[in-house]
């Protein structure tokens, strides 16, 4: 084994350890916050319950223990793949999460596709025609995408396309098809129609972000000497813009897209609430209102694992690409 690959392994090992530490700390913070959300027992028992009922349930759920003990118990169970039982639904958390994941992943995938495709196309367009009326119009309307909060965009879309025009459904996933444990809305007409408004709502912010990024990168690249040479050689505009310029803008754009994918899944909460989308975000909101600690804990851990893993991969990829980072990491 050469020193180079040993250095690399050492680097990865260190990063993995750091990631685990981050996860532990996130979990600890999450658990200490649960004590402020309220008393789940209050929601679980009806108004006719006696004090004995409350006490019995508290000890049954382990809520009479201190926060560190509860956290430790959660960790030891979670390592064995057991995330406990939802207080509100009375079912295994892992089963519920698996049931809800397809809805969120399909929505996130379509939103990401919408954001990336439209973001790049519009970004290139506004860069090439940067003084045109259309480009200016797109640039100023895109401000809406950045500045309006997601729930407002969602409600505006619902009022326009569902209530006023009656074209698209205002809530839910439509009919879904079961494929094994996965449910998909891509195979039915009502399922596809139900995806449109939530995807736009969820992807709009990312779309504007990508568009603006592509535009500024493009403007930067178009000023470079090699583009001028290409023009001087008499290459067509299309070849210059798309083969030479766009390719070189994509490196930072791809990095941002990768990081934003995690954000799309994590921030689906608001969109899912507005559209009653039966995914993980809606589940999480319900869990907070009901003080459903097992669901909250599992969801937060899942999201932090996702972000940590994405960041870990990005770090490792960078290290592969740029050897300087490896030495700096020593």
């Amino acid at each position: 084994m050469g020193t180079e690959s040993f250095k690399m392994l050492h680097f990865i090992f260190k990063r993995v350890l750091q990631s685990l530490l981050v996860l532990l700390v996130t979990g600890a913070i999450a658990f200490s916050m649960f004590t402020f959300v309220g008393d789940p027992v209050e929601n679980m028992l009806g108004q006719e319950r006696t004090m004995e009922d409350v006490e019995r349930l508290r000890s049954q759920l382990g809520l009479d223990k201190s926060v560190p003990v509860q956290y430790f118990r959660f960790l030891t169970e979670a390592v064995q793949g057991n995330f406990g039982v939802s207080y509100r639904q009375g079912r295994q958390v892992s089963v519920i999460l698996m049931e809800r994941a397809p809805a969120t992943l399909e929505l996130a995938a379509l939103s990401a596709l919408f954001a990336v495709a439209l973001g790049i196309v519009l970004g290139v367009f506004t860069a090439i025609r940067r003084d045109g009326f259309a480009a200016n119009f797109i640039m100023s309307t895109s401000l809406i995408g950045v500045s309006l909060p997601t729930f407002l965009i969602g409600i505006l879309l619902i009022y326009l396309f569902s209530v006023t025009l009656g074209w698209l459904p205002s809530f839910g996933r439509g009919d879904v098809v079961h494929i094994g444990s996965w449910t998909t809305g891509f195979l039915t007409e009502s399922g596809l129609k139900a995806l449109i408004l939530p995807s736009i709502t969820l992807g709009l912010y990312q779309m504007t972000l990508i568009m603006r990024l592509v535009r500024s990168e493009m403007l930067e690249v178009l000023r470079q000497d090699y583009i001028r040479f290409a023009r001087a050689r008499g290459l067509s505009d299309r070849v210059i813009n798309f083969r030479h310029a766009l390719k070189n803008t994509m490196v930072p754009v791809i990095t941002v897209i990768g990081l934003q994918l995690g954000a799309i899944i994590a921030f689906a909460i608001i969109t899912e609430t507005v559209f009653q989308w039966p995914g993980l975000g809606l589940l999480f909101i319900n869990a907070i209102q009901f003080v459903d600690i097992p669901i909250m804990a599992a969801y937060l851990m899942m999201i932090s694992v996702m972000f940590v893993v994405i960041n870990l991969f990005v770090d490792i990829l960078y290290a592969f690409i740029d050897p300087r980072l490896r030495t700096a990491a020593k």
């Binding site: 008393d39 209050e42 079912r91 009022y159 839910g172 129609k193 507005v274 009653q276 039966p278 209102q289």
Partner: protein, 526 residues
């Protein structure tokens, strides 16, 4: 361009196709049933779902009167005052074709008394249930229980054979995360049968054409599609766009809008829930005020003054947009013991209130913290905000602390608040229920929601005697005298009775139920 117009045409077709099938009730409300097990989770939306598919012995109509359901008639036994005799309806079949017999009823009561059952408190007085014939049962209680039928209106009857054959005799251990056959499958006697269910997403039911009351009730809905929609704006949008045609949990601010929309109606009725403030009069000194060594709330004149400072009409008009009925007592109007006179006893008189305050030695007022929920009752936090201003007029400086219900209610049950908002519904339609929880001195299994510190042994004895007093006139006289004490003591500051609103498209015909329990068999569809 062609493609767009094709999509539009399909969209138009889809929406018109949805309009043709008028017998489908597309029903939305804020939350979903927690489980289908009839004896787990004593909770509103869960009961609503079960009422379509399972049936109890007795239900109530919209005026609160008993309606014979699986029992045709019932009466206390002539020989033994501790026994009630119920005659069951003949010719009733469960969804799987089995006949309803007395054995099934006995079995269901025994099931509902299991430790994991959430219904066991309501039938706690029952010591034995016996089948005395194919269609007759006897229910024995631990003493005479004059209001036993009131506790049975949400107690659903299951088929013994089906339950045993599917190993679901034990009530689901909800907190233990148990899933049993009965949590996802239904075999009831009700007017609708379960087709499919995805928790929190969608539940589909279809009409039971073999139902015993098929000719007696309209039963014009052939299919029910029930979808919980949590976000209030989305819920209303779904009704406005015609995707749902029946809506519970209407947001107050959208009522006028929905009512004025073409083809939509809002119907309302007083709800079985009264909203009020509680004051800790029992403590020697309270923490949440600025008076040292004394408890201003212990003085009945202060409590009266605080009630007189509240302008209930202003709250009704401004905060509730007309959607409330000002209250003078903490009992909803259908409850046995409620009187119109006592419910009119709250009056607004700021000058009189100031005079009472100075008489009590608090001419300069005092400051106190008001604990208020912000996600439990209709406009709960806004009501508290209004009260802050009104109490300020008599010198009571209120610091409002509004929290989610999961944090608010423990304050009351743990005795950590001195001034709080609470709402109360009375499922038994009898004042005893209110006294047991809100008036009786606090002990481990009685007075659990009495956060006032009020503890009067004579009154407690009177309240306890209600449970076994079979002389209904004497019992009602006792109830009236207990209410008189509560009113004179100004134990609570009543605010208003909530009004319930259901939104629906014009074709749907149903009257609002005060317990927020729509029963689809009564629906007409045009």
């Amino acid at each position: 361009m062609k493609k767009t117009s094709r999509i539009l045409a399909i969209a138009a077709l889809m929406s018109s196709a949805a309009m043709v099938n008028a017998e489908t009730l597309r029903w939305a409300r804020a939350g979903d049933a927690l489980t289908l097990d009839p004896h787990s989770q004593n909770e509103g939306p869960s009961h609503t779902m079960r009422h379509q598919m399972y049936e109890p012995l007795i239900i109530r109509d919209t005026d609160g009167n008993f309606v014979p359901t699986l029992a045709t008639d019932w009466a206390p036994s002539a020989e033994n005052p501790n026994i009630w005799v119920f005659n069951l309806r003949k010719g009733v079949k469960f969804h799987d074709g089995a006949d309803l017999t007395a054995e099934d009823v006995v079995f269901s009561f025994e099931r509902a008394k299991q430790p994991t059952s959430d219904m066991k408190e309501l039938i706690g007085s029952i010591t034995a249930v016996r089948a005395t014939g194919d269609h007759t049962i006897e229910i024995e209680t631990d003493g005479p229980n004059p209001i036993l039928p009131s506790n049975l209106t949400n107690l659903f009857i299951m088929d013994k054979g089906w339950t045993e054959a599917n190993n679901t005799t034990k009530v689901q251990d909800f907190e233990g995360g148990e899933i049993t056959f009965a949590t996802t499958n239904v075999n009831g006697t009700g007017a609708y049968k379960l087709v499919s269910r995805e928790p929190d997403v969608k539940t589909v039911m279809t009409r039971n054409d073999d139902y015993w009351g098929r000719d007696e009730f309209p039963m014009e809905v052939s299919e029910i599609i029930y979808t919980p929609i949590q976000n209030a704006a989305t819920r209303v949008a779904a009704l406005l766009s015609g995707e749902v045609n029946f809506l519970q949990d209407m947001p107050v601010q959208d009522l006028a809008r929905v009512d004025s929309a073409d083809g939509l109606t809002v119907k309302q009725a007083p709800q079985n829930r009264v909203i009020f403030f509680g004051m800790n009069q029992g403590a020697d000194d309270i923490e949440a005020d600025n008076v040292d060594g004394k408890n201003p709330l212990a003085d009945v004149r202060v409590r009266k003054a605080m009630s007189m400072a509240i302008n209930r009409d202003a709250i009704r008009q401004v905060v509730m947009r007309g959607q409330s009925v000002p209250a003078g007592m903490i009992a909803p109007p259908f409850v046995n013991g409620w009187t119109a006179e006592m419910d009119a006893e709250s009056s607004t008189d700021v000058d009189g209130a100031k005079a009472l305050m100075s008489e009590a030695g608090y001419a300069d007022g005092f400051s106190i913290r008001l604990d208020c929920p912000n996600d439990r009752y209709i406009n709960d936090e806004a009501i508290c905000q209004a009260a802050v201003g009104m109490l300020g007029q008599i010198g009571v400086k209120v610091n409002l602390d509004a929290k989610p219900k999961a944090q608010h209610f423990p304050l009351i049950t743990d005795g950590k608040t001195d001034f709080y908002m609470l709402g109360w519904g009375v499922p038994t339609y009898d004042s005893e229920y209110i006294f047991n929880f809100l008036v009786h001195g606090r002990e481990s299994d009685i007075g659990t929601w009495n956060g006032t510190g009020f503890d009067n042994d004579d009154l407690d004895a009177k309240i306890e005697s209600l449970a076994s007093n079979t002389d209904l006139d004497a019992r009602n006289a006792d109830i009236a005298s207990i209410w008189r004490t509560i009113q004179d003591e100004q134990l609570y500051v009543p605010i208003h009775h909530q009004v319930l609103n259901w939104g629906m498209s014009d074709g749907v015909g149903i009257e609002v139920d005060p317990e927020d329990q729509p029963r689809v068999k009564y629906f007409t569809m045009k």
